[in-house]
């Protein structure tokens, strides 16, 4: 298999991942899209490693680490998504806009919100 094939495939995969990140509303789907991006990189790494016949196998090792990192990220990510779901009962990211730049609410409303908590 020629290197360029692998690289093209990886680029495609990465593009799909990016699209997924931008297009999907579900937080979990977003996580999956990110996984696609990382795996695109992995594909590249492994392909390059093979191409270079790297004696240190830097690419392969790197790919392994990326897998670990991805796992850790997903772990933390899912935990956060879970928290969000518990508090908001939704995992749709476009509804999460409580924190945004908007004009200050009147002080009284602040207090009301505070008391309500």
């Amino acid at each position: 298999m020629h290197l360029s094939l692998a690289v093209l495939l990886s680029a495609l995969l990465f593009g799909v991942g990016v699209y997924g990140v931008l297009a999907r509303r579900n937080a979990v789907a977003l996580l999956m899209a990110v996984e696609l991006m990382l795996n695109a990189a992995n594909l590249d790494l492994v392909a390059f490693d093979a191409w270079f016949k790297d004696t240190l196998h830097g690419g392969q090792v790197f790919a392994l680490f990326v897998v670990v990192v991805a796992a850790a990220e997903v772990g933390v990510g899912l935990a956060i998504v879970l928290t969000v779901f518990r508090l908001r009962e939704t995992v749709s990211v476009d509804t999460l806009t409580q924190l945004a730049d908007r004009d200050p609410r009147p002080q009284r409303e602040h207090d009301a919100a505070d008391v309500a908590q």
Partner: protein, 621 residues
């Protein structure tokens, strides 16, 4: 003695200081420093005349280093020669008489102390101009006079007229003074020194454009100070000040300073004939124009003011045609008779309580001394022998005739015409003021007419004496000139011919007789009424004020409003607007922070994409 010449301006200055701040400590009040200062200055001036007597062309200069400027260093000191000494005496005499006169005239004025101190300062400033050895030193005196005239003209600052006149006087002369300052630049930089002697010595070495520029620019100041056309407008208005001040301004200080400076720096002007021609033209216009204005004026003091303008033009004309001696001589005689006339006018005004001649008349009976002395002054002004003015004026006309050429002939002819007009308005003045019946203010209460006290009549008599004595033709023409004036080289020798005097006398007498005849025909009417509608431009002073108002004052104020508007709505608004724009931009950028994480991510990816593409393209290229 000339080492002590600095005392000449210093003594009145000290008197001014004491009079302003310390008069409460002086037994006798503010009068004492005022009079003592003037007397002291007169003593010094007399001593100076004695010191330079016999060899008046020799310059006694005493200067000390004043200040470095980064370029040409300045010196301060005195420069005394015959001219300075004689003019110094003239100034001191008039100033002293004015101070004495004022003790009565201004008695009861709540601000007398300030007034007297300002008169002292005025005297001091003029004396500084007289003896200054450095152009900037001269300028200080020059401008200080502007200030004093401002303060004194505006002495009655409760009245709108006085306030306006004061500002007008200062600003108008200041316009000329700016040119004067630049003239000093031109000459001083050209000569490499601001010392008067050095400047005059180095005139031959300077390039002609420099000398011409210097002379013309200096003329601006002269025209302003000596109230020549087109900067004459302030002088008639300056009558809003107390009358003794008018005497001071018109005779000894301020207006005299302009003529004096031309005489003092005469070598500069001689080296720039164009400047002298300009001066001559200005003199011709002013001479006749002002005399015509005087003819139609009803206000006694304004008549005198116009006459001053006209007489100063005679001096300027004399200097323009090389009649240095005649010009200076006329300066002296004029100082005597004009001070006399103003003080006499003051005496009259104080009694009748009005300035308008139409409300006077028949005063000779009640004020014999005033009338008598005024008659002397009037004779001198009209150019009738044996009074001084006749001879000095003839000196100027003779010089013009001798000078010849277009300029000389113009000055001569206009001078002769003006003699006629002068005699006419002088006659009208005497007739309307002193003769006939007393008309009194229209609808006003009758006033008790009486002669003024000795402090006022004394100076009148003394000045009348001067107005006669100074005219002795032998005095300057042969003996006196050599003895007391240092005549600059290249000037017309003074030449007073009896033929000339006869001619002017005939012309003047004709005018006198003409006006008297007119008066006889209709004693109640103003003789000028015969001119009918032709008198209107004269009464309005040829609308010069109106022209200035339309051409200068209004545009300046309009521009001022525009500038302020520009500042608020233009520059400041731009600055504030920039701030607002920043805030607004901040508001706009803020909208991007809408809370939607996918929007954020899109921006991130877009950013990366742009940068990556840009970089990749840039590198590939």
């Amino acid at each position: 003695m000339t080492h002590w010449a600095w005392l000449l301006p210093a003594l009145p200055a000290l008197a001014a200081l004491v009079g302003l701040f310390g008069w409460r400590l002086v037994p006798g009040g503010p009068v004492v420093p005022a009079v003592v200062g003037s007397v002291g200055a007169l003593v010094v001036a007399t001593a100076l005349v004695v010191a330079v007597e016999g060899n008046p062309a020799l310059v006694h200069e005493n200067a000390v280093a004043w200040t470095p400027t980064g370029g040409i260093a300045l010196h301060i000191g005195t420069r005394v020669d015959g001219l300075a000494a004689v003019v110094g005496v003239m100034v001191c005499v008039v100033a002293l008489l004015v101070q004495i006169y004022s003790t009565v005239y201004m008695a009861g004025d709540p601000r007398y102390a300030t007034y007297a101190a300002e008169v002292s300062l005025f005297t001091s400033a003029m004396l500084l101009v007289v003896v200054a050895s450095d152009l900037f030193e001269l300028l200080i005196g020059w401008e200080l006079m502007g200030l004093c005239s401002y303060l004194l003209v505006g002495h009655y600052w409760q009245t709108e007229g006085a306030r306006a006149a004061a500002v007008k006087a200062f600003v108008t002369t200041r316009i000329g003074d700016t040119g004067f300052l630049f003239g000093i630049f031109a000459l001083g930089v050209g000569a490499g020194s601001f010392d008067l002697t050095a400047v005059m010595d180095r005139v031959p070495a300077m390039s002609h454009p420099t000398v011409l520029a210097g002379a013309l620019l200096l003329l601006c100041g002269v025209v302003g100070k000596s109230a020549q056309f087109p900067l004459h407008v302030w002088l008639p208005d300056a009558m809003a000040g107390p009358t003794p001040i008018s005497a001071l301004i018109h005779a000894a200080t301020m207006v005299a300073a302009g003529i004096y400076v031309v005489a003092r720096l005469y070598p500069v002007f001689l080296a720039a004939p164009v400047a002298l021609t300009v001066l001559g033209i200005i003199a011709c216009i002013t001479m006749l124009g002002a005399a015509l204005c005087a003819l139609a004026e009803d206000d006694l003091k304004r008549v005198l003011a116009w006459s001053t303008v006209s007489q100063l033009a005679y001096m300027a004309g004399g200097l323009a045609v090389g009649g240095w001696t005649a010009g200076v001589w006329h300066l002296l005689t004029h100082a005597a008779f004009k001070a006399l006339l103003f003080l006499a006018a003051g005496s009259v005004l104080r009694t009748v309580g009005t300035n308008l001649m139409s409300e006077m008349g028949g005063l000779w009976r009640h004020m014999p001394i005033t009338f008598g002395t005024a008659l002397v002054g009037a004779g001198a002004l009209a150019g009738l022998p044996p009074f001084a003015g006749a001879f000095s004026k003839d000196g100027i006309l003779s010089a013009a005739k001798d000078h010849g050429g277009a300029l000389g002939n113009a000055v001569y002819v206009v001078g002769l015409v003006t003699v006629f007009v002068t005699a006419a308005y002088v006659t009208r003045l005497i007739l309307r003021t002193f003769l006939g019946v007393h008309r009194g203010p229209v609808g006003g209460e009758p006033v008790r007419l009486h002669e003024s006290p000795l402090q006022m009549t004394g100076p009148l008599v003394l000045l009348a004496a001067f107005a006669v004595v100074l005219g002795a033709p032998v005095l300057p023409s042969s003996y006196g000139v050599r003895r007391w004036f240092g005549v600059p080289a290249g000037t017309q020798p003074l030449h007073v011919g009896w033929a000339g005097v006869l001619l002017t006398t005939v012309i003047a007498t004709a005018a006198v007789i003409g006006v008297v005849l007119l008066h006889r025909r209709r004693p109640a009417d103003d003789p000028v009424a015969v001119l009918g509608r032709a008198a209107v431009p004269l009464r309005r002073a040829f609308w010069v004020d109106e022209v200035y108002d339309v051409a200068l004052v209004r545009p300046v104020h309009a521009l001022a409003r525009a500038v302020l508007a520009l500042d608020l709505r233009g520059l400041d608004a731009t600055a504030v607007g920039t701030g607002r724009t920043a805030t607004f931009a901040g508001g706009g950028l803020r909208r991007l922070q809408n809370g939607n994480v996918q929007a954020y991510l899109s921006a991130l990816v877009a950013g990366v994409l742009v940068v990556v593409l840009a970089v990749a393209v840039a590198v590939a290229r």
